[in-house]
């Protein structure tokens, strides 16, 4: 292994690392908010909302992430509002991931006994209040492991940003590679950068899962 690649191009790697972390964090927040909203739609007492939620989840889950990113990259520009690769990629990631997060949150909500909703409603809370104050806070604890897994996926999936010149780790790795011509070593170091992010998260998810198992 040629460590001079890592030391010579450390700044380039680091710039990509920053792009990957930033995109993943933004997409995490976006996909969580969007996912929670869609999850509530999915179980809402209004039929139109349920249809919308189901349609959204079914459609997005069944098309490739790259296609979602392309839609946000080329679509707005056709309307005269071009989004750059980083922005389009991050929005695409958030939308794609939100469909999985919606399903995880929905499963979490359904795991909370129905009696609680009924009790809250009969004590005078509205449906939205019941969701926000009673059901969601409990559901969140259950869905932390699947959410953690989705975050790990998100970090890994952010690598598609390279295809739309999204200034992420893979993008800068390609640039290092076209200068070093040492593909094996160049991308081995890229793998290390990804593992620095994903391995601790995986470990955290496992620990939390075990804690939940013990409690229930």
């Amino acid at each position: 292994m040629d460590f001079t690649i890592l030391t010579d191009y450390f700044d380039v790697y680091l710039e990509g690392f920053r792009g990957t972390v930033l995109s993943s964090l933004l997409a995490l927040v976006g996909s969580f908010l969007l996912g929670a909203l869609i999850a509530v739609f999915r179980i809402a007492p209004v039929r139109v909302l349920r249809w919308f939620g189901t349609g959204y989840v079914e459609f997005i889950r069944n098309i490739p992430l790259l296609l979602v990113v392309y839609i946000f990259y080329y679509g707005p520009s056709a309307l005269g509002l071009p989004l750059d690769g980083f922005t389009a990629g991050t929005i695409g990631l958030a939308v794609y991931t939100s469909s999985f997060i919606a399903e995880a949150i929905r499963a979490g909500i359904l795991a909370i006994p129905k009696g609680q909703t009924e009790a809250a409603r009969s004590s005078g809370l509205s449906y939205a209040q019941t969701m926000l104050h009673i059901i969601l806070p409990q559901a969140i604890k259950l869905v932390i492991p699947p959410l953690g897994n989705q975050f790990i996926n998100l970090i890994k999936n952010s690598s598609v940003l390279t295809i739309v010149a999204g200034l992420d780790l893979m993008y800068f790795a390609d640039i290092v590679n076209t200068e070093t011509y040492r593909t094996f070593d160049t991308y081995l170091f890229v793998a290390l950068f990804y593992l620095v992010l994903t391995l601790p998260l995986s470990y955290g998810v496992r620990v939390w899962e075990r804690r939940l198992e013990r409690r229930y």
Partner: protein
């Protein structure tokens, strides 16, 4: 339950058959690889790298599939066409006496050197500029096309040449091309976005992702021919002599390529190919 398992096992057998097919393809590549790797010791076998190609019965050339005028895949016919393709055919004809003894593989600026060094292709005929840096990785033939770097913009753009570019401009290019390096040197602090291939870079320019796209003028003229909303502006600001690249140490292949180029020039065939694609005679 039993029926399902039978189905699964049938599917498994099919997949393995497919994979066996793939493995064969892989082996094809390997043979070429051994040919390449064995080249420095060519004296022993007497066959050399060129001999291996002859034994195989066809020449495998890496060309662009996304570059109009040089190498472009036509969805309607499935054929790849362009200047680089005609040159490749001439080399195949020189070696085998048959221009059909040729297999084309898609390369991009990013993938062509790895694919050559892996032995998957015998040579690169893909709008590749001869540079000192690349000479450390591969061996080049004589110059077979003289290009120069230029700029492509949307018609009506305020950019009229390289002197219009500032640190605030965004330039689009292709990963691994000399042109992105040049533009960074010529315009300090300029923002450059690099794509996997020219197709994506041109799509990005159309999508308004940058102010201009830079690469060799010959490629840019092809893009302008594809979409009349775009035009090439300013004079070429670099020399980009294209060469045909082979694995290091494959001197016998370089010789065959140079002989082919000489034949083409002597017979006037080169000028014909040039005019067919570029629309004028060389040097005009």
């Amino acid at each position: 339950m039993k029926k399902r398992w039978r189905l699964i096992s049938i599917a498994a057998v099919c997949a393995l058959a497919v994979l066996a097919g793939c493995a064969n393809n892989g082996t094809g590549g390997n043979t070429a690889g051994e040919g390449g790797n064995a080249a420095p010791a060519a004296g022993e076998s007497g066959a050399g790298a060129l001999g291996k190609i002859k034994d195989r019965g066809k020449l495998v050339v890496g060309v662009k599939y996304d570059t109009k005028l040089f190498g472009l895949k036509d969805p309607a016919s499935g054929n790849v066409e362009g200047f680089d393709i005609d040159i490749s055919k001439a080399i195949a004809k020189h070696i085998f006496g048959d221009e059909k003894a040729l297999e084309l593989k898609e390369v991009t600026s990013k993938t062509r050197i790895p694919m050559l060094n892996n032995g998957e292709i015998d040579m690169i005929v893909a709008t590749m500029t001869i540079t000192e840096e690349r000479k450390k990785e591969v061996d080049f033939s004589d110059v077979y096309f003289q290009a120069g770097q230029s700029l492509l913009v949307k018609k009506g753009s305020p950019i009229t040449g390289i002197e219009s570019l500032t640190a605030d401009s965004t330039v689009l290019g292709s990963k691994g091309s000399t042109s992105v390096k040049n533009i960074r040197e010529k315009v300090e602090g300029i923002k450059v976005l690099e794509f996997d291939n020219y197709q994506d870079a041109f799509n990005a320019l159309k999508a308004g992702q940058g102010d201009t796209l830079t690469t060799d003028d010959a490629i840019l003229y092809g893009m302008a021919a594809q979409d009349p909303n775009f035009e090439v502006v300013g004079k070429p600001f670099t020399d980009e002599p294209y060469g045909i690249a082979v694995q290091k140490g494959n001197g016998d292949i370089v010789q065959a390529v140079n002989d082919t180029l000489k034949e083409l020039h002597d017979s006037g065939e080169y000028d014909k190919i040039y005019e067919k694609w570029i629309g004028k005679k060389p040097g005009e």
